[in-house]
């Protein structure tokens, strides 16, 4: 199955992106806990833009060929802002001058980020359908009907469904890692993340990650996080518990 094409039925695991970026992966269709409506979800760096103004394309713009207005499927609704790693200038000056006196206060780093996520209102230019669940490599849509907060899963087997590398199975190396992630022009620090040994590549950002209950993807699996970064043989997912709490969305069907 070519995940970079145009889909009339939207579900997790296919190409998507804001008009400002190249292409990432649609995490899936979720429920917005603030108003009960269905929303499209991916990473903030995939849905980058201005809420209420920036449109979301399926497939993503480049290299997948998504264009305005035919491929518009939504409009950015909200996101969880990303915190910069560098302390503010005033704090750096104080620590430069009085660091010998202030000790630990100057040693402390800024609060780490917990998620890289955003949601978009479903607002298609042409007819598109929404289905809860995620595309498998053979084109079927699977709906794993559980969620897992993301704690206590060291060594567990997980799978993800992404635009570029499709469904891949991996192993959780750590469920509480603090990481420095390169965003093209700067590093951002993330805390309490899931680090997985598994295959991913550019364009997989936004892939939903599931905790496996058997040997292959199944309806009994649980959504555990959303992939946003990686390094070839390893990838990082923000935990479902933080995504739910900070973006205020729900995966489960009523």
């Amino acid at each position: 199955m070519d995940r970079t094409g145009r889909f009339t039925t939207l579900a997790g695991g296919i190409s998507v992106g804001s008009e400002k970026i190249t292409a990432g992966t649609l995490s899936g269709i979720f429920i917005d806990l603030t108003d009960g409506r269905e929303v499209l979800v991916s990473n903030l760096h995939v849905f980058e833009g201005e809420p209420g103004k920036t449109v979301i394309l399926q497939p993503g713009r480049h290299p997948d060929g998504g264009r305005k207005p035919d491929d518009i499927v939504g409009i950015l609704k909200r996101y969880v802002p990303l915190r910069e790693t560098k302390p503010p200038l005033w704090r750096r000056i104080i620590c430069h001058l009085f660091g010998w006196l202030l000790g630990d206060w100057c040693l402390s780093s800024p609060e780490p980020n917990l998620v890289d996520v955003a949601c978009a209102e479903f607002w298609p230019y042409k007819h598109r359908g929404l289905v809860r669940g995620v595309y498998l490599d053979d084109g079927r849509i699977l709906y794993p009907g559980k969620t897992h907060p993301g704690d206590g899963i060291d060594g567990a087997r997980v799978w993800k469904s992404g635009r570029t590398t499709g469904v891949t199975i991996g192993t959780v190396l750590s469920d509480s890692v603090t990481l420095k992630v390169w965003y093209g022009d700067r590093f951002l620090v993330f805390g309490d993340q899931i680090l997985v040994e598994g295959v991913s590549d550019h364009g997989d950002s936004g892939s939903p990650v599931f905790l496996m209950s058997g040997d292959s993807p199944s309806p009994g699996d649980a959504l555990v996080g959303i992939l946003f970064a990686g390094s070839g043989g390893f990838y990082v997912a923000c935990k479902w518990k933080w995504v739910r709490e900070l973006l205020k969305i729900e995966w489960l069907r009523e």
């Binding site: 990481l179 390169w182 620090v189 970064a229 043989g233």
Partner: protein, 64 residues
């Protein structure tokens, strides 16, 4: 300040060093994740009293 918190502050500083990708502290084990073999060799002799140390190469983590 607890030992874990003190160690985390030191690890937060270490994280800002080029070549260090991340760290985790769990059940008395500190794991430092690094970008390359050079940093792996540099940090392999690092030790923290009261903790078991591991250093693992995972490459540079970047948005995908």
């Amino acid at each position: 300040m607890t030992l874990d918190r003190k160690v985390r502050k030191i690890l937060d500083k270490l994280l800002m060093e080029p070549g260090v990708s991340g760290y985790s502290v769990k059940n008395g084990v500190i794991t430092i994740f690094v970008e390359d073999d050079e940093m792996l060799a540099t940090l392999s002799s690092l030790s923290f009293a009261g903790y078991k140390m591991e250093v693992k190469k995972i490459g540079r983590i970047q948005m995908l």
